[in-house]
C-alpha cells in the first residue's frame, strides 16, 4: 500500500510553476526523502500534501484520502513538522503540546497520556513547564517534532527539520526518525543535506525546478553516475597538454578541466593516481592537491543537472 500517491500534482504562483506535475509513490512504512536544492519545490509539494496550499492541478491521495475531496480525513492521518519552529514561545512545552493535541481532536485523559509520552520521547519531561521561548534551538526543534506526533499519525512529514541546529540535536532528530519508522510510521523527509537523505531513506526522490528528476533507493541513484569515483586534481600550471593523455588512461570515463584544475571520473582511483603523477612529472608540472570523492548523491545531482546540490 502506498502512503502517498500523487497524480500530476501542480502548483503555480502566477506565471511561475513551482511544482510541475509530479507523480510520487511513497510506500507505507518507509522513509522517503525528497532531496533538492532550495527552491526546488519540496516545501510547496509538502504544503499541498498537508492541505496548506490548494493544488493548481492534479491530486494526491494519502492513505486512501484525496487531499482535494477528503481534506480533513487526509489531514487526520498526517503529522507535519514544519521547517521553521511553529510553537508558542510564551507557552510552556506542556501547554504547547496540549494545544496541538487538541487541534488533532485529542482530549481528556488520552491527551494527558499522549503529552506525557511525547515529553518522554523528546526527553523534555523535566523542562515541561518552562516556556518554549527560553529553550535552546535544538530543544525547540524537539518540541516542534513532538507536537506532530501526539495523535500517532500514520504519515509523518518533516520539512527540513535539521536546518540550523547543533550536531547533537541533529543526531537526536535523525535517531528519532529512525525509531519512529521502526514503529511502523511512514516518514516523508525533505532535506537538502544529501548525507541525511542517504542515511535515513529507503527511497529518495531528487527534485529540481519543480520536477522529480530521479528517484529510487540510494544505491540505485548512485548507479546513475556509474558508481564511479571522482578525482579532483590541482596543478601548478596549464593542464591543456595533459588532457588527451588522461582521457585515454584505463578506467577513466570523463575528464573536465578548468584553469589549473582537473576533474576525472574513474572506476578505480587507487590504480589511476600513480599514472597521473607520472604523467604530470613527464610534462614538467607538479600536482599540488588531490581529492578523491566516493560516489554520492551530490554527484548524482551534478550528473543530472550540471549544477551542485547547494548552488
Amino acid at each position: 500500500m502506498n502512503a502517498i500517491e500523487t497524480f500530476q500534482l501542480k502548483k503555480n504562483f502566477g506565471a511561475r510553476a513551482a511544482v510541475q506535475g509530479i507523480d510520487l509513490r511513497v510506500p507505507a512504512g518507509e522513509i522517503f526523502s525528497l532531496l533538492g536544492p532550495n527552491g526546488a519545490g519540496k516545501s510547496t509539494t509538502i504544503a499541498m500534501l498537508s492541505g496548506l496550499l490548494a493544488p493548481s492541478g492534479g491530486d494526491a491521495v494519502i492513505f486512501g484520502h484525496s487531499i482535494i475531496r477528503q481534506t480533513q480525513q487526509a489531514k487526520a492521518v498526517l503529522g507535519i513538522v514544519p521547517q521553521e519552529i511553529a510553537l508558542y514561545p510564551d507557552l510552556s512545552a506542556r501547554e504547547n503540546l496540549r494545544f496541538w493535541g487538541q487541534m488533532y481532536g485529542l482530549g481528556g485523559k488520552t491527551l494527558q497520556t499522549r503529552v506525557d509520552e511525547i515529553l518522554d520521547l523528546i526527553d523534555l519531561r523535566d523542562r515541561q513547564n518552562d516556556l518554549v521561548g527560553k529553550f535552546s534551538g535544538g530543544m525547540q526543534r524537539r518540541v516542534n517534532i513532538g507536537a506532530a506526533l501526539l495523535h500517532r499519525p500514520q504519515l509523518l512529514i518533516m520539512d527540513e527539520p535539521t536546518v540550523g541546529i547543533d550536531p547533537q540535536s541533529r543526531r537526536h532528530i535523525l535517531d528519532s526518525v529512525k525509531a519512529l519508522n521502526q514503529q511502523g510510521m511512514t516518514v516523508l523527509y525533505t532535506t537538502h543535506y544529501m548525507e541525511e537523505a542517504a542515511e535515513l531513506s529507503d527511497q529518495i526522490a531528487i527534485m529540481d525546478q519543480g520536477q522529480i528528476i530521479a528517484s529510487g533507493s540510494h544505491t540505485q541513484l548512485i548507479h546513475l553516475v556509474g558508481g564511479q569515483t571522482r578525482v579532483e586534481i590541482s596543478l601548478n600550471g596549464c593542464v591543456d597538454g595533459l588532457l588527451s593523455a588522461w582521457q585515454a588512461m584505463p578506467g577513466v570515463s570523463a575528464v573536465n578541466a578548468k584553469d589549473n584544475q582537473v576533474s576525472l571520473l574513474t572506476e578505480n582511483a587507487n590504480t589511476l593516481l600513480p599514472l597521473l603523477f607520472e604523467s604530470t612529472a613527464g610534462n614538467g608540472l607538479h600536482i599540488t592537491a588531490v581529492e578523491i570523492c566516493e560516489p554520492n548523491l551530490e554527484m548524482v545531482f551534478l550528473h543530472l543537472t550540471g549544477r551542485a546540490l547547494r548552488d
Binding site: 492541505g51 496548506l52 480525513q73 487526520a76 521553521e84 508558542y88 487538541q102
Partner: protein, 415 residues
Amino acid sequence: MKKIFAIAWKDLLRSTRSLFLIGMAVVAPLLITALMFFALGSMESSDSSALPQIELGIVDSDQLPAGASLENSLGASLRQALSGEDLHTWLHLRAYSDASAAQAALDAQQIDAVLYIPADFSAQFMQGAQPTALRVVYDPALTITPVILRTLLENAMQSMQGAQIALQILSAQTQDPALSAAAAAQYADWSAQAQSELAAGPAWLHIVTPASADSSSQPSSIALILAGQMIFFSFFTGGYAMLSILHEAEEGTLARQFTTPTARILILSGKFLAVLLTVILQGAVLLAAGRFFFGVNWGQPGAIALAFGGQMIAAVGLAVLLVALIKTSRQSGPVFGGLLTAMGMLSGLFTTNINMPAGFDMLSRFTPQGWALTAWKLALNGHATSDLLLPAVVLTAIGLALFAAGAWRFNRRFA
C-alpha cells in the same frame, strides 16, 4: 466546538502573559484615570463654593455717649450683626478686652483678623460727623478672608450712614428728640437683622436648585474620564488581541493549525472568541476598579449590561475589520496608534468633561466609540435600561457589520 475553546483559551493565556497587552488594557487606563483623579481632586477642592472658616477677633471700645437715645452702642450692634445665626457657620467671633491681647492671638494665628471698634464710634455717629474709622488687622498670609471682611463691614457701614442721614433729616424736620430716638432704635434692630441675613440672602429670594443638577445623580468627572478611557482602551485591546492572527501567520503557527484536521472557520472563530473574551475581561476589570478605587457608580445593572455589551461587540467588530485590512503586524502601529486615537478624539473620549460644539457631537455619531460614550453617559446619569436601547442597538449593528466585513476578508485571505 472544543477546538474553538482550545484556540480561545490558548490566546487568552498568551494575552495574560503579555506585559504590553496588560499594560495597555488595564494599567494605562487606570493610571491615566488615577492621574486625572488626583488632578481633578485638587481642582475641585480649591474650587469649592464653601466659604473659608474665619476666626475674627473684636476689640470693641465703643461707648454710648451720655444722654444718647440709643439703647446699645453701634459697636454692639455691629458685633450682634456679625454674630448672626447664618454667619455663625463660617464666621466665629472672639471678643478681646484690649488690643494687645487681640494682637497676641493674631500673632499666634489663633484668629485670622482683628476688628477694632474705636471708643467714639457711636458718639461720632450720633453727632452726624464722619464716624471714626473701623480698623481691621489680618494675617497677611490670607487672601480671601480680608475681602470677605471688607465686604461685610462696608455693607454695615453703608447701612449706618444711610440711617445717619435719615435721622438727621428726621431730627431737622420733627424737632422731636424722642421720635428721633425711637426711629434710631428701630433702625438699629432692623440693621442688625439685615446684617445677619446678609449671608443667607433675603427672605423674599429663594434660590431653587433644579433636580437634574443635583450633584448626587450627576456622574462625577472621574466617572466620565474612566468611561472615556475604558472605551478607548477597549477598542485598542480588541485590535491588539486580534493582531495575534497576523503574529501567528508570521510565526507559522497559523499555517500549522491549518494543517490539522480543523476547519478554517473554526480556527477563525476561536480567534474571534479570544478577542471577545479579552475585551470582556479587560472591561470587567476596569468596571470593578472604577467602582472600588474611584467610587464610580456605573448605573443600573441593565443599563451597564447594555452599554458594556454594545461596546464589546463594536470593539471586536472594529478589531476584526482593522486587522483584516492590514497585511503585516508592522502596519498595526500606525493603524492602532493613529486611527484609533483619531476616532477616540472625534468621539470625545478624551474630552468627556468638556461641552463640545454641537457639530463635534454630531461627528461622534459616526464612530462606534461615540455611541459607546453616549451609552455610558446615559448609564452613569442613572437612566433606565430602556433609555440605552438605542445606543446599544446601534453599537451592536455597527459591530456585527464590521465583524462580517472583517471575517469575509479573513476568510478570503486564508482560503
